[in-house]
């Protein structure tokens, strides 16, 4: 049976979508979000009191964002490496960041965990953590740049993702790799970035098993993309040519999200 990527409504910035997003936020960030949205511009954008006007503007901005995806794909050099840093420059403590609080991070049982594979992949047998740990491991100390503007340097280790994709017989001519996560986060990336030498299926942080707050059991670490493009708590991944979108991207963040 062919694998079906998750279907989701195509959102513009729709008040209902925003409402859904608000429900997922902890109370503190919900208050912050509401407070920051209650501006003349924010109200006009969200209430839909001037729908035709706003729909044309958000539509045009969305088109430019798609254009910017193409520009970033063109700018992206598959051989250019992100800067690496000495261990002394690692940010301590490395910040926790998600659309929920740290105590809400999902709890995944590593003993029974299996990474599910789907879509245009020849060998879809699921992978246990031990099997992934038995593959050749790499380590990197790179800068994580958040879409909010802050940045932090951290150390991740794991399996080079391009090697993994080739090992399982993924069709690397496909356009997208999609991810589904234990925290209901979902997202997709371009194949060129998936095959970048610094893109790793991270199983460790700072040389230790990846802790829950940083995405146990695994996170896709891409120093060539912004933080929100680096999914944590990955449960399954699939290869597809149909645009799968993403959690923040469907709300308006740029899809390529390169850095």
């Amino acid at each position: 049976m062919p694998y079906k990527p998750p279907q989701r409504e195509r959102p513009s910035i729709d008040p209902l979508v925003v409402k859904d997003a608000l429900k997922l936020m902890p109370a503190s960030s919900r208050r912050l979000f509401l407070r920051q949205t209650l501006t003349i511009g924010g109200l006009a954008m969200l209430t839909g009191c001037d729908l035709a006007h706003n729909k044309s503007i958000t539509g045009a901005l969305g088109k430019v964002s798609k254009f910017n995806d193409r520009v970033q794909a063109w700018l992206f050099d598959p051989n250019r490496l992100a800067p690496t840093y000495p261990a002394s420059m690692i940010t301590r403590p490395f910040p926790f960041n998600a659309f929920y609080g740290e105590n809400m991070a999902p709890v995944v049982d590593g003993a029974t965990y299996k990474l599910e594979l789907g879509g245009m992949i020849a060998d879809k047998r699921p992978w246990t953590l031990d099997a992934l740990r038995a593959l050749p491991q790499e380590s990197q100390i790179t800068r994580h740049i958040c879409v909010e503007g802050w940045s932090a340097i951290g150390q991740w280790g794991g399996v080079r993702f391009g090697d993994f994709l080739r090992r399982v017989g993924a069709d690397t001519t496909a356009k997208y790799v999609g991810f589904k996560c234990a925290d209901d986060y979902y997202l997709s990336i371009d194949m060129a970035t998936a095959l970048h030498p610094q893109t790793i299926l991270a199983l460790t942080y700072g040389g230790e098993t990846l802790p829950r707050k940083y995405g146990f059991p695994m996170k896709l670490r891409m120093p060539t993309k912004l933080g929100y493009k680096n999914p944590k708590h990955i449960m399954s991944l699939y290869v597809t040519n149909q645009y799968p979108g993403g959690y923040w991207e469907d709300l308006g963040y740029n899809w390529f999200g390169g850095s």
């Binding site: 920051q36 800067p83 390169g258």
Partner: protein, 212 residues
Amino acid sequence: MTTAATADGRFTPDSRGTAPLIHPLWLRITHWLNALAVFIMIFSGWRIYNASPIFGFKFPDSLTLGGWLGGALQWHFAAMWLLVVNGLVYLAFGLITGRLRRQLLPLRFKQVLADFLAAMRGRLEHADLRRYNAVQKLSYLFVIADSILIVTSGLVVWKSVQFPLLNTLFGGYDTARKVHFFGMAGLAAFILVHLILVACVPRTLVTMIRGR
């Protein structure tokens, strides 16, 4: 054709005696497109800044554009194209027609000082709007250089991995972010002074619309 520039760059009124052209059409168009782009860039940029302030303050959200971080980013990364393309058109016209050199150079420190002191005493001449005084020349040169700084540091903030040379020149991502912020602050200060001076000499607003 109502005016003609002579070889040394001076303008002469035509035989019908209409007011001389002060700002050619290309300059007026690029000026107002730039004003629109800068308006969007600054107010959406303040929203982006607020998501993770570099310094101990935030801009009032009511003064920002975009409604939330994602919206502000969309505005910012759309208006950047207008800012850059329009800025390149302006520079190309300015260089090819020789207007940049003619209007903004030479610039002498003594003259800047003299004109600044005259302006402070309210004695600066505005009889001929075709000729910029030395303070004007300096401030326009500053805003061109500042805009280039803002765009190049912005490129590093946008794609620090993909522009390694610029990234190094600006001292890395975090420093480029600060440069981008201070570039904005310099531009905002220019705009403030610019608007006050336009209010002092309202004829200049008319000439930037009608050209004469």
